[in-house]
Amino acid sequence: MMRLPPFTYLAPKTVADAARLLGEHGADAMIVAGGTDLYPNMKRRQFEPKVLVGLGAISELRGVRGSASRGLSLGPMTTLTAVSQHAEVARHYPALATAAGLVSSPQLRNMGTIGGNVCVDTRCNYYNQSYEWRKAIGFCMKKDGDICLVAPGSSRCWAVSSSDTAPVLWSLGAHIRLTSADGERTVPIATLYRDDGIDYLAKRHDEILADIVLPPADGWRSRYLKLRRRGSFDFPVLGVAVNLRMDADVVSEARIVLGAVASLPREAKPAAESLRGQRLTEEAITRAADLAAGPAKPLDNTDYAHFYRKKMTRVFVARALRSLAGLDDGVDSTEAP
């Protein structure tokens, strides 16, 4: 039986208490939300925190508030199931409901939270292995070692951002509120991520993700497509989030963000730019899809061959756009068939 290493568990009732505890315990402490990613990692000894600060008892972090016309506030401890089934989210931010509903398995969506998914550890199939396995192959720089096994000679870690919801929230223009004992700050979610497989969050260790704020949905239409081998359990090995604002049938604003092709979600700005002022014709879609595939730089450290993931970036971006354009090609628009 895989077991957790020992730790002390603290269950604050308020964000302020949680922030204080994190400040007190410093690097010894880690935050746990749903635990669906942290506990497996701890069982494999990727993390051995002395103290866990569980956020489950903080009611202010749970639930969805506001409205699509003024913007929604998603409590980070809201479960992925709740997010995916929330009527307002499903109607006005469909890509987010889709992404939340495609995370892992039904059970893990009942346990896992939107905040946890936003902050989920980067993944690499040289890293998400047991202690003994990592010892056998030689520890990598993300844990216990100083080399990179996927890109030998590299001075950085190439672990992959594996969140379904992060690229969607980025494409929706979400902001996050971070709270610490010293105060709080609200920043675009795009600034939360760093291009480093180890130090992948710009969140300070003592900061708590206290809120996720979606801008008003008005006029925006979104899609999320996910590539993975099975329809359940599997992390994305490519995620495509597209959010368009339409002025009649012309694109007035566009954001395309790719997940799981780098250590952070990658915004495909030239692709999005190319759509502005255009109708969603086959030509415009093809051009945008070709441009979007540019920033995708997958390496061979997830399921599926990296060249295949790169190739699929173009296909998936095109499919997301076709779906938004109402061009029915028989392909299920919520997920890869």
Partner: protein
Amino acid sequence: MNKHEFSIIGQPLPKVDAWAKVVGETRYADDLVMPRMAHGKLLRSTHPHALIKRIDTARAQAVPGVYAVITGADLPRVKFGILPVSQDEEALCNERVRMVGDAVAAVAAQDEETAEQACRLIDIEYEPLPALMSIEESLGHPEIRIHEYGDGPNVHKNVALQFGDVEAAFARADLVREDVFFYEGNTHLPMEQHAAVAQWGADGKLTLWSSTQTPHYVHRLLARILDVPAAHIRVIAAPVGGGFGGKLDPFAHEIAACKLSQLTGRPVKITLTREEVFYVHRGRHPVLMWLKTGFTREGEITGSHIKTWLDGGAYGSYGVASTFYTGVINPVTYRMPVYKFEGARVFTNKPPCGPKRGHGTPQPRFALEVQIDKAAEQLGLDPADMRRRIVCEPFTKTANHLTVTTIGLGECIDKVVEASGWREKWRGWQTGAPRRGPLRRGVGFACSAYMTGAGTAIYWNSMPHSGVVLRADRSGGISVLCGATDIGQGSDSILAYLPAEVLGLDPKDVHVPPADTTLTPVDLGSYSSRVTLMCGMAAIQAAQRLRAVIARAVARKLEVDAELLVFRDRKVGVPDDWEKAVPFPHAVELAEAMHGVLAFPGSYAPPKRAGKYKGGGVGPSPCYSYSACAVELTVDEETGEIELHDVWIGHDVGRALNPLLVEGQVEGSVYMGIGEALMEAQVFRKGLHKHPSMLEYKSPTTLETPEIHTILVETDDPEGPFGAKEAGQGPLLPVLPAIANAVYNAVGVRVDEVPISPEKVLKGLDLKRQGKTPRVGPERIPLFKFKEPLVVESAFGQPADAVAVRPFADQETSR
């Protein structure tokens, strides 16, 4: 007995253990808890190939709560293996490790955490050796030897058999095809991780409870490995939470638990982690195959020649048998008058391969059925019709001297063609009907055959393969003692149904205790689809012996001729005078008063029909099951992804003793075939298993599993219990080639290797677009010299030997 008037046979009854399973009562090995029980853990090698220079357990011994730490030095220096010809394993390696995951030490402690912590404090110094991770590397580096024995450097087994003149057969053919195929290795992935509890009593006697498919072989081998008289060892099979062939060898954790129990004077439990289950393995061999077959214009096969190279992994396991199985079963399906087989199993520094559902036969079946599809296209034939036309003749011998009895394959094909709408859906050899956008629909067809129990035991002997002791109780209940292990396939239920049928009882009146080497007669184990047939025949024999004695006693009481008595509804009587019928409990009392204690043995051994040539012992079986399969799927031309819609499968099971259980076996086989066809792969990188986890070893979920339509065909085989043949393995075989053929039908791409991943489909489509041959698969075969073949005359078409001449059979009592 008129076999068309069954009362239990043919009924869709719940399994006898179903109730315990749905309420969580069933106690699997890891659920066992005993007073003072210690928890064990194995330390496993972190090197694929290395010499062990030094092991120091001092730091581990010093951990508070640690009861004992052992290494290979604490066990008798004996090498073992499941096959007498491959004694190459050690429970805890002494001088050398041959794979990442080889066990080198074991700890018993007061809890699992302490044992694990202590394992990490065992200091081992290794001297790494070059690791050989593929067939090519192992054959290319004869100077590095993984084992000293075998048929050449790193060649575990090299076989060559020839039945008739293949070159002449090819010369006679209108079409000769040569193709190369590859079948990636994969693993059983039972949901239950292996577990064992050992208790070495103060009396010096050892009891082992284990999730094993073969308590008898474990019993035999433990005696040798531990150097303890077998009479002092008791092995009890716990209910097995999924086997599929993965729990058929004696394993390090079982042996270590025994030794640790002896040293600590406590019961010791060891449960493997999921990662360890991947290392224990014994799963599907990766096999590279070259297949050459001649066809006439009409689609008749003139002769076939197959060469196979098996990537065996680090140890022998069942590998010699696996090697033969890649060659010997192909001829039992279609008329194949001339046949040649060359096979080699190569050692590599990976977890050893062995028997997985279909043992060695899905690989050549994939090759043959895809090649037939290719030939059908060249010959302009409908692939279902072509197969239908060339089905073997029943009650004949094959080229390689296997005796086939009943064959329901023709009926399977007909019914699958009809149920699937093949005539409408298969639109000839042009590629797939466009559905919408990039989606292309396709259908594919394939057939197969599989054995119902191996004709010979693992070790040479003339004893029964299966034994039953049936005891009647004055309560009117009976107990069926048998060493068979229920791994979910329902063998306990079969052992209840058959005697209940013979004795006119309800299955609920029959008690089937678990396999226990001190209580139950030997059954060789749950492998090679042998249990229903062999235990079933033994159980029927025992029940008939009891029935005869009861009949004599009741006949005397009722003053009628015993021949006139009928056993039904828990009564024994004459049908015409049923109100006088004696209730079964009373009948038992009458019989016990007359005969003494009512305990009767039943024994079964297969008919002795091994071919009279060296190697002729692998392949013979009392009878063979047959399957035909059609698949409908969609291929996405932009992503290469495959979506399965429906699988239709017709299976000749001889007789469905319980159609519900047979369907369950067929559906499970189809499921496992789908996984192997599309996504399951046991692959390695830098000397290690690439992804020993449930997340990255892809087992299909409900969402990837199509609707499975099962059609059972009954042929009432004279060899089987009430006519039954196997169902648990054969239906896996045609699924993979049917999928490959359907992909070709959909998009015109031949993927000649499994798994058929989206990357491979896309590669094929790219080749097609470039005007190249749209085929993805292996291009080369190794430079390798097979043995001079043993040349034997083909026995093709000869009439079968007499049926039912078997050791231990009661000739006077018909079935």
